[in-house]
Amino acid sequence: MASKRDKDGRYPETKILSKNFGVKDSWTLKVAKKNGAYKNLEKALKMAPADIIEEVKTSRVRGRGGAGFPTGVKWGFVPTESDKPKYLVLNADESEPGTFKDRYLMELDPHLVLEGCLICAYACGLSTIYIYVRGEYPKSQERLWGAIEEARKAGILGKSVMGSDFACEAYVHTGAGAYICGEETGMLESLEGKRGHPRIKPPFPAVEGAFGCPTVINNVETLAHVPCIIENGGQWFADMGIQPDPDNPRAMGSSGTKLMGLSGDIKTPGVWEFEFGITLRELIEQYGEGALDGRKVKAVIPGGLSMPVLTADELDVPMGFDALVKVGSGLGTATAIVMDDSRDMVEVCENIAHFFADESCGQCTPCREGCHWMEKIFARIQGGEGTPADLDLLERLFINIEGRTICALADAAVWPLRSIIRKFRHEFLAKMPGHEDAPASTETAGVGAS
């Protein structure tokens, strides 16, 4: 495969989702239409629904909400022979820490988001779209409502979508501040007016989702990809990015482009769109312009808060679903949090553990109790009252939390914390009376997230 770098070694941006981000008044229907909005919906409405799903399968687009599930396959699970109403719930909760990419799409190109939703709804036979936007995104809510109203007036939404016999309504549903409502079944409970308690699966939402009816749940960015797949074909999308590994059926590849971001200890934080394949180091050095003056990058969580941390010498990994798993981490939301050499990793762990303890919905004992215990242990170590036995205790806690709960929030708590105490063990020991002289090298500490 030809290298995507230019002659100066720079990995170029590819603006497909983000092509209108710099356009004046990009969120209005008038400007959006001038830039081609809804012409792909018009094209899709002339296609057979099954052919659209086939095209999306061919594209190999994988969910951008964090889990990376193949979108076309998910759409294929919706039962066609069901006389119940069917719903689309767009996951616009974006409460994963360090993540702000969907906000750009909703604020700057809400018509693209709506067009993606409508194509999905038409392909899967869904009659109502609920856009679940977190309460902390007032501007996204405003822009989406504005787009919905404009679209309704223009006959793009409603009883006859663009003059076809397809009818579809769309509403923004506002969250009220709870991370767990980003988990798809927690989101459904919240949409139904309850506490956001994730459900035990199966049944899967495609069969029994919102209000007991078949429901497709997708991330904002995932559906924003759909119009260009209809425009150029699934194969065009599949040809971009990282190809699947023919020898490993689990390595499904990372097709298309992805919004990626940087925040934390970095000179230029922000969000950019790339064809999959840029390495984490290139992202940090070429787009983030590296660490602040006089500082060095020490640790990076590649996507959100919920993934294992990578150290400064592990950054030459392509930002892709399979490549990051291979090095013991994960793509997550592809918005990396960077920490430099001035950072105290015990303090970082205390902060992370507090987040998960705060946001646990409380249904499962290992998560509800475990996250609080972890926070307390980190606080104890931070207060100079820890002993090496605390690190063993944490390891045992991790084993008793991971994989033993209803949803993945508990796993998401374990992954960053375990990787940090394994890779930066010396920093923890250095705070323990009598163990301050622990070796500073990460090698001796048994590197490796599992």
Binding site: F100, E136, E192, G193, F211, N351, F355, C361
Partner: protein, 170 residues
């Protein structure tokens, strides 16, 4: 926070008040069940009644939506954006999550508490003016640290800027 069990049950307010009637009906029309309107209607009610949901408002909303008082109470205690006790005249959210912490949120929290004359977050300050809340990631990490004052986002906030913002509240 939860009223003592031996007190008389709250007298429900008449909900919705006429100013909110149309909006409430509009919200209800979007969902197949009345319960589904709980979250948006509670946000609306909170905004209308001095930024908190009293036991009387709770009972009024419960009656209107055909759910139990305790269902509403369960929502108020679960979601960070609801206030189940008096919330002061202004509400300040300080993000405490990792990126904001790296970018100086700890100082902002202290500054906010100082301006609010409050000992801790989640409690209204001495003069009843401010409620400062610790919030988890507000999705503004590329322009961290982030703060909301009365529902409006402020980014790249310094202690000086936050002091100015809070002093400008009446």
């Amino acid at each position: 926070m939860i009223p003592p069990t031996n007190s008389a049950p709250p007298v429900a307010v008449q909900f919705p008040p006429k100013e909110l009637k149309k909006e409430c009906e509009d919200i209800l029309s979007r969902y197949p069940t009345r319960m589904a309107a709980c979250l948006p209607i509670l946000l609306l009610a909170q905004k209308h009644y001095d930024n908190w949901v009293s036991p009387e408002v709770e009972a009024g909303v419960a009656e209107y939506l055909g759910v139990s008082d305790s269902h509403i109470r369960g929502l108020l205690t679960f979601y960070a954006m609801y206030n189940a006790k008096p919330a002061g005249r202004h509400e300040v959210w300080v993000c405490r999550t990792l990126t904001c912490m790296l970018r100086g949120a700890g100082k902002l929290r202290d500054t906010a508490l100082g301006c609010a004359k409050a000992k801790t977050t989640g409690e209204v300050g001495e003069d009843g003016k401010f409620l400062v809340k610790d919030m988890e990631c507000l999705g503004l990490c590329e322009v961290a640290p982030a703060v909301f004052v009365d529902g409006e986002a402020h980014v790249d906030v310094t202690p000086e800027k936050l002091t100015e913002l809070m002093e400008a509240c009446d």
